[in-house]
Amino acid sequence: MKGMTTIVKQTTKLIAGMIFMYGIYVIVHGHLTPGGGFAGGVIMAGSFILLILAYGSDFLKLLKEESGTTMYENLAMIVVLFLAVSGLLLGTHVFFLNWIPKGTVGHLVSAGILPLYNIFVGIEVAASIVTIFLALIIFKEEVSK
């Protein structure tokens, strides 16, 4: 896949970082404002997709990244699963227990375990969508070769 013109590349360079930061903001404030892991994760993936579309890249590098993103995705899921099971392992023996102290409602550090879920689900979603996209692109490149 070829890249696009210089104007597009420069603009993308500016915007992609901001979109990425916005995704992180949405994820971290998931328990206070609308949004959360899923929305933020897709936004983060959007910034990557923008970069891929604008720059294009050679095929081998993409292949490497696909296995990398699958890895991130599964690692994040393992962490989510571990957070879920952590309640089971602690003294209370309850699956999906929100055992971290809740804090004050409305503060950034509050709601116990929920922000952690948001963060790792966000990473998982972002990695998943980038992987799907890369898989489609790599298939196209491999077939056209």
Binding site: L32, T33, P34, F38, T104, V105, G106, V125, I132, A135, L136, F139, V143
Partner: protein, 112 residues
């Protein structure tokens, strides 16, 4: 009540599309339309007149919120819908590469 009927008609439009269309992409689109109507239906069920969005401001708690449960369900279902669509698209692109066509009548190895 009319809005429920319209939502249901949207669902039936999608159902009709899935049954009658012969193009793979059209079938995928019809499935998406069914999906949209289902999400809309859940959101309609959760709405209560005069309610506010379910986000609590600790300084100023409101009495009436709209039902957060259907919203949580739709949130789950949207991501499931994305997953279904992605997989369907992957199969469609593979089938196009193998057969060189998107018409379901030309893709008929299996029968009986």
């Amino acid at each position: 009540m009319i809005v429920y009927w319209l939502c249901f008609i949207l669902f039936l439009v999608g159902l009709y599309g899935v049954i009658t269309r012969r193009n793979l992409i059209k079938i995928a689109i019809s499935l998406s339309i069914m999906e949209f109507s289902t999400f809309l239906f859940f959101a309609l069920v959760g709405y209560s007149e005069g309610g506010v969005a379910p986000i609590v401001d600790p300084a100023d708690p409101v009495k009436l919120y709209v039902d957060p449960l259907p919203q949580a369900l739709v949130l789950t279902a949207i991501v499931i819908g994305l997953a279904t669509t992605a997989l369907l698209m992957a199969v469609i692109i593979r089938i196009y590469r193998k057969y060189g066509s998107l018409d379901i009548r030309e893709i008929k190895n299996l029968r009986g």
